[in-house]
Subunit: 174 residues, 2 copies
DNA sequence: ATGTTATTTCTGAAAAGACTGAAATCTCGG
DNA sequence: CCGAGATTTCAGTCTTTTCAGAAATAACAT
């Protein structure tokens, strides 16, 4: 499959960025490719288009599935698995945030709870304070996130679009 | 400098997490150590406490400064540079978000603008649509972030604490 | 200037991570 | 059950990153 110059540019950039978010270049490139593709692609397609080993594609697809960013589909009369990426950008964003929270915030929250529980006089007063305020902040953030996640989608978008002007409405309501 | 068990646990965890956010284990450990320390530490302190080479500490401290997470201070009668981390967790969070945006969102935004400008008939209609809606979403997100950043700090915290209940206030105001 | 202490830069070794190609496994039609 | 197609696993190679130690530089006191 031949890529258009703009598509290639996007795929390459996404690949570079991938390393900054903790996935390998290939994984990110594949995601970009599937994101722009107008139809689901099979592994062989991807392997040829990006010129990476077939086995590498297999591993990368698994990783993308673990991130919930792509899903498998099938084409009638074709035994091969086809893959397609989440197409809706707002949904894509939601999933990325969710996964990053799961991998970065949740374990830290768990650890901080442990630390807070185990804190004793051996831990200096300052460190103890640091840990407890960090924990409190993350708990709050977490709660905020969960509540926001529960809001109906159109309202969420409305809040987003409102941005800082939300304060005026709140003043009125107060 | 001897670490308490809880502090050690925190430092080690922070180090592991570091790799998930694109900094090396040592960089993250040093940050954790400075975050919990009750006074600014000098490089030698850090090197001994974490048992890493002095040179490694030097490089890592530079990286932490590039992230705006630590700053240099001085102690009278001591020629050595001392380092202290941002202590306030809300401020720490703000800085981390800002830096990640700068490294992850801004370049992508720039690329998408280029891609949108260069899009022509060679780029498929579908890919073109994908790129333009991605761009639109990121622009909106960016604007939202800038506006939120501009809000006075107490209001921001109030919004955070409110969480999903913000919707009730908005209904009242409408 | 000279020696002392602090810091940074450089180089190469070791560890970690990404990738390939071959072999093994799985899947399904006949 | 057999065989062709599809996918996954694995062992080894290549690349990148991390880090220690040595050498160079800088800052300062005497």
């Amino acid at each position: 499959m031949e890529l258009s110059p703009v598509t290639r540019k996007f795929v390459l950039h996404w690949g570079e960025m991938g390393t900054r978010w903790g996935v390998s270049r290939t994984v990110a490139q594949i995601h970009a490719l599937l994101y722009l593709a107008e139809r689901p692609l099979h592994a062989e397609d991807i392997s040829e288009t990006l010129e990476v080993a077939r086995s590498n594609v297999s591993t990368s697809l698994k990783e993308l599935q673990a991130w919930n960013l792509i899903k498998v589909t099938h084409v009638i009369g074709d035994r091969r698995d086809h893959y397609e990426a989440i197409q809706d950008i707002t949904n894509l964003f939601r999933v990325i945030v969710e996964e990053r929270k799961r991998r970065e915030i949740d374990p830290t929250l768990a650890l901080l709870r442990e630390c807070a529980a185990e804190s004793d006089s051996k831990t200096g007063a300052h460190a103890r304070e640091r840990i407890s305020s960090t924990l409190a902040f993350l708990e709050m953030l977490n709660k905020w996130y969960e509540e926001m996640k529960g809001l109906p989608y159109p309202l969420l978008m409305a809040l987003l679009r409102m941005g800082g002007r939300v304060q005026r409405f709140l003043k009125k309501a107060a």
